[in-house]
Amino acid sequence: MTKDIMQSEAKGLPRMKPATDILETAEGFAIYVDMPGVRKEGLVIDLTENELRIGGKTGYQGATNETRVHVEFGNVEYARAFTLSHIVDREKIKATLKNGVLELLLPKAEKAMSRKIKVQSE
């Protein structure tokens, strides 16, 4: 198992689709992406017209003088893309990286917000 991971490190990082939650709140959409081991400097967020691309490389220490006894994870490269709905206000997208989780807040555009319509009586 250990040998396996060391080999893949030499070849280049294995690519992984990070686990993601997408939910809708009253203000807009929220996307949570699990990216453990990724530092702020190693994170890339690209926004094109209707696509949001995220990517990041983990920064775990490579070769040390420690002997690996049991290995279940290693350095990987995360990559994922999301298609944005037209009701998202692109100017106000916010991203925060905390404890290895990337939080993207995508507020809805003003005009897409639901609003109450008053019925006028004659």
């Binding site: 991971i5 949570y32 453990p36 081991g37 994870f73």
Partner: protein
Amino acid sequence: MVIDMNPFYGSMGNFDRFFNELWGPLNISQRRVAYPPLNISEDVDAIYVRCEIPGVNVEDIDLTFTDSTLVIKGERKIEKGKYYRQERPTGNFQRVVNINSLIAVDKVKALAKDGLLEIRLPKAEESKPRKIFIDMN
């Protein structure tokens, strides 16, 4: 809730090795059976246990070390809202690691950063190799 009672440390028998080789060609991500995934390594001075726990506050992680068993316990909380997609695991998790070595319990240190939890278990002085000098008469 995921409970894993495997005595990982120092128990790589022939049987285990056979199964590991069987699983060998698969990708790392597919080999994750227990949560959270953890790595164990050691050097002359200490044993290191590292695990990936993204999005968990330090206050919500419960670490206990009782005679040669390290228990990592915690909870991943859920956000409120209408879910369109849910892939991230939620709920309670627990993993148990058996350590077959004498540990200086007072010097055990844990550090959480970028979703990685690192626990350093320094080996007790008694368990380190020592040179024995032969007296000549």
